[in-house]
Amino acid sequence: MTSQAVRIGELTLRNPVLTASGCFGYGLEYDDFYDVATLGGICTKGLSLHPRLGNAPERICETAAGMLNAIGLANVGVEAFCTEKLPTLRRRGVTVVANIFASSVEDFVAITERLEREEGVAAIELNVSCPNVKEGGIEFGKDPRMSARVTDAVRKKTKLPLWVKMSPEAGDIAGVAVACESAGADALTAINTIRGLSIDVGKQRARLANATGGLSGPALRPIALRIVWELASKVSIPIIGIGGVFTANDAIEFMLAGATAVQVGTANFTDPRAARTIADGIETYCEARGLSAMELVGRART
């Protein structure tokens, strides 16, 4: 029995498998499938200060070994999350990572302060892939300075572990990563989706009402792996790998590349049990080699 526990800074997870934000709802849809509390953790759908309806349809379409989504960050808002969702998750002993987003530093802080008042939030994950309205809509996550400012502002308001989710569209991802690390991030999650487009040649128009949408799924995996591989040599805080993790081997690839844990997103759509199955598969791989989960981290780098 090798240990599957992994440490993300102060936080220790049962195993290296979490579910990705926006691909697991609020973790309450899985009673028919398995006990979500047995996962390393779950990341909530992105939470904003106020509830959001999201975009008009079509919001999703399929692409080669992937999919595009432009949900428009529909969510119940941080207040409803704290009062309607969190209590159940807490009671069930689920490790909850609150994924939050905003278009101003003030709102990031306000959401954080609201979460601070609750028990049962294991960590906060900042989705900085949103334009900063105050600064003419430049995406926080594309700019080291702005990413650092959000991280720093939130850091000052909470003792909770703070994860920052990297946007793969930043020209200087390493710069963003290092800036977030110095601003007090406890871990980096890499990566968020890359914007893509799909056109219906019959109708001669974009498939998504929003035209562009975020690409996720296996198609994204090699890019996500490369980014994790590069960041692992740039920062000393843990990295959590995301992008097309569908099987245990996919997850192991991320860990061998330098990730301490992984998040499972789109795979939940093809198989609600995916995250659970992947966690078991990693354990089997470790058993066969007499390695602990932590010993997989960065093993392919040497």
Partner: protein, 274 residues
């Protein structure tokens, strides 16, 4: 409508048989010893285990029958349904279900009037069988472009009083379901429709004018089918959305903002990665 989320299962089972109805339509029947407790209107997310990385997502398909040999009727549209149409007995598929809500039973003394377009027959034939078993024989209007587009008509005739229409007149009456509807719809009927969006919108409009209750089964793209991706919104008249996979697919047509559907001018909210 009765929410029957409880008891969803993820089953990997072999294809028992595939019956082709012309080139475009196929009935796929699966072997599920423990049985599937699905009811009319509900659907399954269906995916071939041998598909690999593409096509990636499972395909939503209405149950045609439930029990130990659940089946679906598929129409070939693209890659996913094309693979289903090629599947050989024994090929493993994964079925997630039963998902979504069921058709709501008609109110006392009202006779159900089913309006089906093409492959939309699946959830309605299932419903007609339930109703007949319950002693309520429904009326059905079943339309398609040509005689080739009204599969399972014979099965429908056994459990409903059927009026067939085809646009080219190659079968039944020449015309559309909406040409026949006015003659059959009355205050003694409640309408249940499934078919192409445009057909359902037209049926809904006729019903609205005559203040008749009309439920429709919606086809929206779905990634998960069980409520977590938020990919299946249906615009409602009150400006909000309902999610077809958990709050549908069977919906009171009067609630739906028919115009605003697919490709309403996008509300561009925070852009970038949603």
């Amino acid at each position: 409508m009765a929410d029957t989320k409880r008891g969803r299962e993820l089953l990997t089972v072999p294809l028992l048989r595939r019956e082709s109805i012309g080139e475009q339509y196929h009935v796929l029947t699966f072997d599920v010893p423990q049985g599937v407790a699905a009811r009319a209107g509900q659907f399954t997310m269906l995916r071939g285990d041998e598909w690999g990385d593409a096509p990636l997502l499972p395909r939503p398909m209405s149950y045609l029958t439930a029990g130990t040999t659940p089946s679906v009727l598929i129409k070939v549209i693209g890659e996913g349904t094309a693979r289903m149409a090629r599947a050989a007995p024994g090929e493993p598929f994964t079925l997630l279900g039963p998902l979504g809500n069921t058709w709501q039973l008609p109110s006392q003394g009202r006779r159900p009037l089913l309006v089906a377009g093409g492959v939309g027959i699946a959830p309605l034939l299932f419903f007609a069988r339930e109703l007949t078993a319950a002693g309520i024989r429904p009326i059905a209007i079943y339309g398609g472009r040509t005689a080739r587009d009204v599969p399972l008509e014979d099965e429908l005739v056994e459990v409903a009083d059927v009026h067939v229409t085809t646009e080219d007149g190659s079968r039944g009456r020449k015309g559309r379901v909406t040409d026949v509807l006015p003659e059959l719809a009355s205050d003694e009927t409640e309408i249940y429709a499934c078919g192409p969006d445009r057909m359902m919108a037209a049926v809904a409009e006729q019903c609205a004018l005559r203040h008749l209750r009309c439920d429709v089964s919606l086809e929206t793209p779905m990634a998960c089918g069980y409520g977590v991706c938020l990919g299946c919104p249906v615009p409602l008249n009150d400006g909000s959305y309902l999610y077809a996979c958990t709050q549908g697919p069977c919906v009171d047509a009067a609630r739906i903002a028919w115009g605003a559907g697919a490709h309403a001018p996008a509300r561009k909210e925070i852009r970038g990665t949603p």
